[in-house]
Symmetry: C3
Subunit: 352 residues, 3 copies
């Protein structure tokens, strides 16, 4: 299961081609090693090594998502520093969650997409925007197709991913994730046709909205009891993503000077918020008593959620400020999204 969990990380974000594929691999392996090292230093108790690797893998999603927001704008040194800082901060945030709020580790790790999205957005707000007329920022049909391929990989392996840390109710987690993904995909096609002129589909919508369901259901995959709840959740996630992609690109991003090239905010950030909200609603409905214990549990959940998001935003902002110092040889805006800045192009060299 762990192995397949990696399949999609690596296939993900192929559209910036050389840099995104290569650096993505680097981030994943570095993040997992970093996580293992933290475990070793603090002698955290774990059943076995495979479990540890699985948890490290889920944690590293946060870094990969964050990297999506600054992809093409950072050099490898900045990315490596970001990876290390983010792994440590996410670990600390989870440690606070489990120590002060008694949130079990297997639940707090589900905050990874939420943490990654807002950490990345906070960082990207400190980097200067590319000029809107830049052609390097644009996608070509070929890169769109490769990106679609990566999305399909993510789509197919998401159910395994959501069930990777669930000991029991494994089968239910897979089915619920699958139904949510299916519902969000169908809704994505419908909404994309409705919102664009001429009723054409926009690849961006399909990709983001198809995955949104999987992100939204992460918190509740093992607790949803009926398929139709999963389906409604998937539709909601899809609606939020497509609407979000409109509102954010038009209003919010220019206001906060965020340039979110990969659409991380509406693909991972907003569905995560939705997922956390739905988790509370379902929790209240399932344990439908008015006892103080229920109120306490809900307050703890909300506190964990707020804590994660605040830590992500604050530390992300600080990290972004440090990384954009001239010390790290920030890339000039004109060199954004340029593979040739980092890779030799040995078109005539004899090599593997």
């Amino acid at each position: 299961m762990v192995i397949f969990g990696f399949g999609f990380f690596l296939a993900f974000l192929k559209r910036y081609e050389f840099s995104s594929t290569g650096f993505n691999l680097l981030i994943v392996v570095l993040g997992v090693q970093c996580s293992m090292l933290i475990d070793l230093i603090f002698h955290l108790p774990y059943k076995n090594v495979l479990d540890r690797v699985a948890e490290a893998t889920v944690s590293v999603t946060a870094v990969v998502i964050s990297a999506g927001t600054v992809l093409g704008k950072t050099n490898p040194v900045q990315l490596i520093l970001m990876t290390v800082v983010e792994m440590i901060v996410f670990r600390t945030s989870r440690w606070i969650n489990s120590t002060f709020l008694q949130v079990p580790g297997k639940i707090s790790v589900m905050h990874a997409p939420l943490f990654g999205a807002y950490f990345g957005l906070a960082i990207s707000s400190r980097f200067s925007e590319p000029s809107p007329r830049s052609e390097k920022n644009a996608s070509t049909p070929k890169s769109d197709l490769l990106s679609m391929l990566g999305t399909l990989f993510l789509w197919v392996f998401w159910p395994s991913f959501n069930s990777i840390l669930v000991a029991n109710h494994n089968e239910r987690a897979i089915c619920n994730t699958y139904f949510t993904l299916a519902a969000s995909t169908v809704t994505a096609f419908a909404l994309s046709a409705l919102t664009t002129k001429d009723g054409r589909f926009r690849m961006t919508h399909i990709r983001s909205a198809a995955l949104a369901g999987g992100v939204a259901v992460a918190y509740t995959a093992q607790s949803i009891k009926y398929p139709w709840i999963a389906m409604i959740l998937g539709q909601l996630a899809s609606v939020i993503t497509v609407l979000g992609s409109y509102c954010l690109q038009r209003c919010l991003n220019p206001a906060f000077k965020i340039h979110d090239a990969s659409g991380v905010h509406f693909t991972f950030g907003l569905p995560s918020v939705l997922g956390a909200f739905v988790q509370e609603v379902l929790f209240i409905v399932n344990n439908g008593t008015n006892s103080p214990r229920l109120v306490y549990a809900v307050v703890v959940h909300i506190a964990a959620f707020c804590l994660t998001i605040s830590v992500a935003l604050i530390v992300g902002f600080i990290t972004g400020s440090i990384l954009s110092l001239k010390l790290f040889k920030t890339i000039p805006v004109s060199k954004y999204f340029d593979d040739q800045f980092y890779w030799e192009f040995p078109h005539l060299a004899v090599g593997f």
Copy 2:
């Protein structure tokens, strides 16, 4: 297992690129949801949800194969309607099989490639042919390579697919499918070199014939006892596919005004017929008595086969006639195989 079953559906038929990848995903999720809905309405008994999803996945192959015949000629509304109609009709056909002919559900679902191929061919006979000089219909080396990649995915996951519904003899089903695929691939290379001038290989042959083995062995994967039987079956399937691709393209297709762009007839249709035939032969050989009970069983198998193929052809023809009505805004022949008709090409837009 279910998850990997999807891997190939989604990677399949990538050569029409945007439309084929996107619509294929839509068809699969819609088909599975449709199948689940039918199950819910009729309260059909099942052990668990994963089994249901697995069976729905196998059923949806039929729709994906049918979509291959009309790909590039239908708009999304027509495809959605086709998906819903085909899922209902295939379900009905299976219900007739299990009620009147006592064919178990796990065997009748194996008729999916057969049903899908002839349903699709019947539909495509009602759509006007593209002009033979159309350049959009042609493949490029790049699209051929992507298509080969999709075929490799199908190839690798076919053994899992053929064994997905088999409770016992699971290992034997995997091995038999693998041997058949291996034999059909080797034969495909040999035949392709023999039939083309200069002894070159034709990508079309390799792709179709390599998969033909997997289709042919679907009926008998768990009952073949010796590897050499599986290998001979694979060789037969490969021969039929390569010969079929010649005869059909030259003689049959013009006669029936069928335009089968993806070669569905010789990749899935003919090997299925071969597989059903071989199933009968093996059944007679294995239970080599002349008792009336054996005759009865064979008659039932043949009846189930004929029923499936007739239902597919008749309903496919009717569905094709309905879909080609002007009501559904059929695409003009000049717009066939055109991605830009359905997709925004936001080459300069900033998006995910």
Copy 3:
């Protein structure tokens, strides 16, 4: 597990596109069938068919690696002959190992990358070099990207591959392989930036060195007890690969007239030698006595290693000499690396 083992073979070496993808599939299926046939002829005892297929799959790696050295220089007939000869010779070499040196079959099969690399190098020394100015030999950004995709596949499935034949300590083998791969990937990025001017990355280095860890750990995956040993091994493998790629391309290859287009020597050959050496060191450290029994075991290991490598070199040289006879219609140097020599390009034909 077997099925996924194939995933990477087929996705491997996509850079010569049509020929490499197609011929690679042909080699794998032919090699496995050949191996099964040898098993049948000699009635070798095996528990079950799946185990046999798994072992055949690991054996066929040797052929795929050998094919990498002569890819683009051989015609299909030569490749088929090479596949058959190599499967038989590797089998014989393993039989000698198990009969005279009492090396268990599951360990001797781990010599596959070693055998394949040196068999291939010996063969390629008999083929004339392409002219260094040939443009067909060069890679394009697109083919580099496809090749990176293939490498990622190999990377993801390598842990399954190294643990496929290990009955016990399965989990440990997966984790050790994973740690080695992670360490070698990080080291690959660091070394690539250090060795190229401007501190850019070279795709060739990343690809070769990322995989080198997996090759090096094959011998010791189930016996390494601490993650840090696996990590150091990965770093060593990476260093050897990157340095090797320099030294070999500059000094050794011209001296022996070897043209190793795919970098098989430093990707598979050298890390295998390192892996075998580390195996001895760990064996001595773990059983740290000075008893004659230990010395005997070490001598047996070294003898098995030397035997494998000598058989590979000698038979490879002989096979190369036979294959480069005019009898087999060797390709003229000017036609090296040319897809159009073997494949029809039916860009305007109507086909699947």
